[in-house]
Every structure is written in structure tokens, then in C-alpha cells.
Amino acid sequence: MNRSKRHLWQATAIATVAALGVAACSSSSSSSSSASSSSSSNAALTASAPGITPTTITIGSHQPLTGPAAPGYDEIAPASTAYFDYVNANGGIYGRKIIYKYLNDAYDPTTTASVVRQLVLQDNVYSIFNGLGTPTHLAVVSFLNSEKVPDVFVASGCECWNAPSTYPETFGWQLDYVSEGKILGQYVAQHFKGEKVAYFYQDDEFGMDGVKGLNYEIPASQVVSKQSYVDTNVNIAPQVAALRASGAKVVVAFSIPAFTALLKLDSLKLGFNPTLVVSDVGSDPITLSGLLESFAKQAGATVNGNQLTNGIITDGYLPSVGDTSNSWVALFTKVHNQYDAKEPLDGNFLYGMSVAYTFVQAMLKAGRNPTRADLTNAIQGGLPQGPMVAPFAYSSSNHLGVTGAYIGTIQNGVLVQQGSVLTTDTSATGPVTTFTGTEEQAPASGIPSP
């Protein structure tokens, strides 16, 4: 009897300590009231929505700062932060400073679900911005929409973000993979007429959307082999052997940078040297060159990364970092050197700053004292293309991002544009056409005008 009482006491003590542990970690926070007010030019700044105070706008994101997706992609959020710092130092958004809180989800969807709830339910962010990854963001997209939190400019080209009726709060930003597949596919169909073509793609939404686009443009009779890989298995020798055996002259790859590098190295080993056509996702020349050199080193060989990437055909929806005459590259180089010179200035950094620019543009359009709905309405009303090479598709019935890209080749470690910008849509029949509009120039102030 005495013993069982002691156990009861023990168990209760354990339960109490556990409860206190949870309580001790809690922090108080209450949601701000959302009083909408007029947005005339001299209206006082109010706390018009959760996450907005008279002096600040707090936004949040989930990013892979550690884990398999981190190399390269972990530069994106610091790049956005650098651009926000620049805006904050130059007057902010109607005087409000942007506070960008991004949390590490290590590219694990369960962690994403947790950190995004922390940002929304505890930190009361105004919006989720540029959440990175298809499987990760899918874990939170319905939660964000049910909480009516703007979910803007997802860092993934999945077609799935374009569902205005089910996900009215969610907006894509970068070129979707189906459109990208069509643009690359048309190039292959035109420039390698009658040649044997093979696909190499990641076995998920990213790769399959890309293949869908490729199939719309490349005649099925030309495609001699389709090889997929999973991103957890780095042994792709069997796939590369099959590609070689198929006699393909052109290999189109929808792969992440690490697997583009592996494809190249495994092909070299077999003396297989096809023309490589690689999705924008897996072709940043600086990232790729670094990966090629480090993988070769692990295998005990020395290679010149830039030499190996020479001649890779890819596409770009942002200006190339190497194009120093471009006004956007000049602006972002200036911001980079001023606010985050430690990070390499590569395609990922340019991406982070460009998406931050688009966000600032959308916030300025949303008005002086925006509610959450004001932001989504502002985006649906259409946005100027800013640093993108083609216009955005935003409307009330289309939540995809940019609609086009140019074809480029990698030459001496730099992406060089070949020909005009091409635009298209995600449908099977929508044509790939040459973009006839003019590209925007970066504003002298470096900050978009409302």
C-alpha cells in the first residue's frame, strides 16, 4: 500500500513537471485586432492586420537551412533579408520596417507543419513568404488557407500552387515546371530535329511536371529512354548506363544540382557525352561547378568544374548573374556587397533578392494600412514583372508566377542568354511564343514604386 502510494505520487510528480515544462517554454502573445482603415496617402499608420504594427511588418518563412536541400538553397532567405534590410534603410514600406523571420525545416514536411504553425499561431506573422519546397510546403498549404494567411511566392515551380478556388491565399512566383518543360522541349524539338532524345528526371512532382511539359513539345518518336532517380539514392550508374545504351544524343534533365553533377560525372566515366539540357532548378553554374569539383575530389579525381559545365543548355527567368550590364544585376550586386557580402553572389542569391523585390512591390500596392486580403487582392490585380524576364500571370483565376524564360548556355561558368525570351502556359495546346514586350529596368532608388 505504501509502495503504491509512492508510485502514485511519483507519477503525479512526473506529470506535473512535464506540464510545467510545456508551460515554461510558452510565451504570451495575442493577436492584434484587424481594423481596416482607409489607405489615403496621409492616413495614420495603424495595426491594420496581424503582424502589422505602425512601425513594422513581420513575415515568416520555412527554409531548408540544414539537411540535403540546404546547399545552395540556404542562401535564398539571407539574400531576401539583405534586400529587406536595404528597403528598411531607405524608408521601408510606407515607413514600416520589414522583419523577416525564417525558420529551418530541414526540408522535412513534419517540421514544416510545426514551424509554420509557430510563425502563424504564436509569432502572428502577417504573411508566409517564399516557403521553400514542394513536399514541405504541401504540408502547410491547407492550414495557411484555412487560417486565411497570405501564402505568397512559394519557392517551388509546382503547378499545384495554382488553385485559386481551393487555395485562394497561395501564389507561386518562379516559372512552373510544366511551362519550363515546354520551353526547353520546344528548343530541343527545333534544334535537334530527328535526333534521339532521353529524359533524366527526379521521381516526384518536380520531375514529373517537367516531363509533362517536355512531352507536349518533343515528338514521342524521338524519345528513346526515360530514366528517373530518387533524391535519396546517389547511385545513378544504372540510369546513366541505360541512357548511354539508348544511343541518345541529347539528355534533358529535370534534376536538382547534386544530381545534375552526378549525371555529368557518371556519363564521363562511361565515355558518354550527350548534349545536356538542364532545368533552371539544377543548372546554376556556380553551384554546379562547386559540386562537380567536390564530388570528383571525393572519388579521388580532379576536374575543372567550369570546363565540365561548358555547353550545358538551360533556361532562365531571371537575368544571369554574369550579365553585368543588366540594371538588376547591378542593383542586386550593390545590395549584396552592402548587406551580405559573405554569401556568394550566385543564382540563388539573385533569386532571393528578386523574390523580395516582388514582395515589396506587392506590399506597396496593398496600401498604407493593408489587411491580409489587401495583399492577395493586390497580387491578383497583377504585378509589374520587376527583375523577371517575362510578365507574371497573376489574376483572380491564375496564381502561377512568371510566364516565360530565355534559353541559355553555360560558357566558362556563366549563363549566356541565347535568343529571345519565350512565354507559354501550362496547357497542352498553349503555344510557346516569343515575348515581344520590353523588360523592365531597375529603378534608380532600387525600391519599386507603388
Binding site: A11, I14, A19, C25, P109, A113
Partner: protein, 359 residues
Amino acid sequence: MRTLPRRLAVAIIVAAIVVFLSIKLNAFRDYQIAEIAVDVTAVAGLTVLTGLSGQISLGNGAFMAIGAYVTALLLLHLSWPFYAVLVVAAAATAVAGAAVGVAAARLRGPYLAGATLMLGVALPAIAYAWPATFGGDQGLNVVFTTPAFLGANFPLTRWQAWVSVAVALVTLILLANLQHSRIGRNWRAVRDDEVAAALDGINVAAARIRAFVVSATSAGLAGALLAIITGLVAPGAFTITLSIALLTAAVIGGLGSLAGALWGSLVIVLVPTYVTDVATSHGLSSSVGSNIPVAAYGVLLILVMLVFPQGIQGGLQRLFSLFAGPDQKPRTWRTAPTPHITPSADQAPASQHEKEGTS
């Protein structure tokens, strides 16, 4: 006091504390309570499997996936009430656990680890094979709402926390009864010496399979809870990382101890968030700050293993015994055969499996 009423009393006290906390704390903390309850449910099943029956599983994440997909499909297509879904999810994973258990009963040590690892890696990939049914990479959306009687303004995360904690507590009570029943004693006998257990008339294979069924069922329930709290069931959530995290929690908490399952779950849920907050509030650069939680986790794991080889629960028992006096030795499953346990005939049968075992 009989053991079952005592456990019920503890469960009611814990439930009352959770209800109190869930009202006091913000919505995100409610979500974390639900997350902890999910992990406790899964880890408790695993700690019974590994700590008591001596089998290892690196595939319990796959059983969670089965529970989660069953839940999603039933809610999506048949709109069943959640309690009915829970029963079916548990039954489905029990069947899967029995199938795996039959294979597992023939394997030992690293071979068993390898086989269950394969399960953990391969099974979630089935979702890609039938995208029409399982939604492929995008997964299935689960709609779970608060019941009408709580009113329209009742926070969903609080309701999720209540449901999850209720399921976790029921699971813990059932497991505790099982642990102290004849079945539990058979598991320990099999774990310590299979030959001796067989000579004593214990069906070794049956005991091992039974442990797998129990462990899989707990994981299935946890999967069902995970489905309703995250609102999405997709293969990306059930990678091998999840299975390993469960095993880590069981080891940190103390293998074989149900209270340890709670400690381990608290650690894997709260430590990363807490350390991230500390790291970001000290203005560390992101390349350093983002790696600190991973490093802290590793350091904690090493420290627990060095200081408390029996896990947190083992360490706490040692502390308790220090205060209780020198005659109270720490009670661990490995060394002491729990003499104070009441005969199993005095206990209410906890589950179907127990009935089978005691008959």
C-alpha cells in the same frame, strides 16, 4: 489501491492538467501538446517493443504512414466519425504489424534492424505507385473540424490537443496493463533468454509477433493523430528520419519505460524549437544559428547516454532512490523482475491481445 484504478487516477490528473494548459497557452503551444501526444503514442509502442521484447524496429514510421493513410482515406471518402476511423486505423496497422512480426520473429539484431529499415524506406513510396488513390507526392488532405457542441469559436488546435492527449493516455493505460500482465512478463523472459523462456513453456515466436502487433498498433494510432493535426498525409512526412526520431526518443527517455516515452517525446518536440529561439534571439548568423539546434540535439543525446545510460527515466529513478534512502534500489526492467506486481487475474483485461495471452 489496485493498479488499474491507480493508472486511471494518474490519467485523469494528466488530462486535467492538459485541459488547463491548453486553455492557458497559445494556439501554437496547443499544437505542440498535440505533437507531443502523437510522439508519445508512437514512442510508447516502440519502447515496449524494444525495451521489453528486445526487438528493434527502424520501420515504425511506416506503420504511422499506414495509420495516417487509412485515416485520410476514410475521412475523405466515407466521412466516418473520427473514433470509428481510429479503430479501423488501429486494426489495419495491427494486421500489418502481424505480417511484419511473422518475418521479424525469425530475424535477430542487425538483420531485424535491416529488414525494418527496408520497410521504413519502401512502404511510404507505395503512395507514388498509385497516385490516383494516395495522391502521390501531394498526398491527401484531411479535413478535421471542432465538433459543433463546442461552439464556433473553439480553437481547432485546442480540440486537436485534447483528442491527441486522450488517445495517448488510453494507449498508455493499455500498454501499462499489458506490460504488467503475463504477456509483458513473457516478453521480458524472451528478451533476457530465449532458450530459457522456451523451456519455461513460452511460445517465443508468438510473444515476439505479439510485441510487433502492439507496437505497430500504437504507431498506427499515432499516424491517425498526425493526419488530423497536420491536415495532410503525404509520403514526405514518413521518411526514415521519422522512424529514427522515434527510436531516438525511446532511447533518450529510457527503453522499456512508458514515462520515458513522455520524456523522449518532450525532448524531440521541444528542444529544437527552444534552441532555435535561443539561437535566433542571440543574433547569430544563419549558417551558425541554423546548425546549433542540430548540434544541441547531438550533445543532449551524448550527455543522456553518458550520464543516464538507462535514459532520462532511469536517471530520475536513480534520483528518487537517492532521496528515498539506500534501501530503495532503482527499479529497472533489466535487473529486477518487478516483485510487487499483482497477479494478472486481478487486473481488468486491457485488450484483445492480453486476453489471448492470459487464457
